[in-house]
Symmetry: C2
Subunit: 242 residues, 2 copies
């Protein structure tokens, strides 16, 4: 078991959708905030990692398993643990519990370290990871089989100023936002996600447009975000009717 | 002096723009959250007001006076006070201070009460306001002279699912988001607001598009959000070069 950290969180109004359910895109930012607190507690803050190693963390994949979405003003506990790592990838788990301790949601996340100057993924330095007490493993299973979309429905989205974060690129949470929005108001008002695989392939540059494409296969939606002829992100979302 | 309330707040990553300055649109939601806490402390929570009176608060105008935008991870204090009211309008002030107590920003806000069934603004019930100890006045000065735009630049924005809040309408903070974004990345990266007048005229309906129009007059931008041939919101923003 890796070192764990937890904090309490009350779902605010602006994290709540029209049905009063948690909006996942801003919650993704909250989870990263929690992992940042965890790392700071272990003297491995983002600033320390950048100044000491010249490295920044980047998320490569998420997997969500959702029993029930938290509701507006609900008090939850967010627990995170650095589970394991191999040469290039670190696996961090988040668990969200309700006030009685029941599990609402589990999020598996996968990170790599990028050398900021060379813009290249580099092997994980052992001493950087030491305080997390996570397990060194050979292989980390992640991701899913993302199919290429044959005849997708799609919409274009302009990258907005406030989509760009302090790292100068489109914030990770926006990709999920675009994937959701293209499904349309009626669908989103009547469905909630059960399971999500989300993969980041390459950054979207500021200023341009992206296309958000999807194909619906029963209650499973397959998503692709693209720009300039490249695929930026992919996802598979299983839904249930509200 | 009306009853006051304050709380501490640390500017999170997702409240920070590419320059590390506070994003005002999500901060508007935070301010409403603080006023909600204030009201709850006085036994005048939104739920109580709705259940007891059948009324909901709506914001009609904001005025921002910005000395300096708070920065990412800065610890600020948000203080709010119910200043005064007349027959239809209540005036609430927010002040944001840095760690040394220096004023960073003052926000004057103006609220009315809407009967939820009749969808009509109604006179403020005295007993609802009593615990705030705000001053009863004849006239409340608010707003500004919003000019009609002659030859505006503009862009259209699609109302997204996550723009709709639990009240079933476009969240107040989105209007400012659209007004900002139309100014373009280069302008926003190199300018910060000094002073903002913002007025809400009528709700944007879910599902449609809005046009965000502006005219620049030196370092002052005049804004209009419109949809279906109606004006939804107006603003005047004075900028300074970063």
């Amino acid at each position: 078991m890796g070192h764990a950290y937890q904090e309490k969180f009350t779902i605010p109004f602006d994290f709540s959708d029209v049905n009063g359910n948690l909006k996942l895109p801003p919650f993704l930012s909250k989870l990263l905030d929690v992992s940042g607190q965890h790392s700071a507690e272990l003297n491995r803050s983002d600033v320390y990692v950048l100044e000491t190693y010249g490295l920044v963390w980047i998320v490569t994949d998420y997997e969500f398993d959702i029993v029930r979405l938290p509701r507006f003003s609900e008090n939850v506990t967010i627990r995170t643990e650095a589970v394991s790592y191999n040469k290039l990838i670190c696996h961090r788990r988040f668990e969200v519990m309700d006030e009685t301790g029941e599990l609402l949601m589990r999020v598996e996340s996968y990170f790599a370290l990028m050398d900021l100057e060379q813009r290249k993924i580099v092997p994980v330095p052992e001493d950087l990871l030491e305080p997390y007490h996570s397990e060194k493993v050979k292989k980390i299973a992640r991701g899913a089989k993302y199919k290429s979309l044959e005849k997708p429905s799609k919409a274009n989205y302009h990258v907005r100023f406030f989509d760009i974060d302090m790292n100068g690129h489109v914030n990770n949470s926006k990709y999920l936002d675009w994937m959701y929005d293209v499904l349309g108001y009626e669908f989103l008002k009547t469905h909630v996600p059960r399971h999500i695989h989300l993969k980041y392939n390459r950054e979207v540059s500021p200023g341009g447009d992206v296309s958000s494409e999807f194909e619906m296969d029963g209650l499973v939606s397959h998503h692709q975000i693209g720009s300039d002829g490249q695929t930026n992100a992919q996802a598979i979302i299983s839904w249930r009717v509200l």
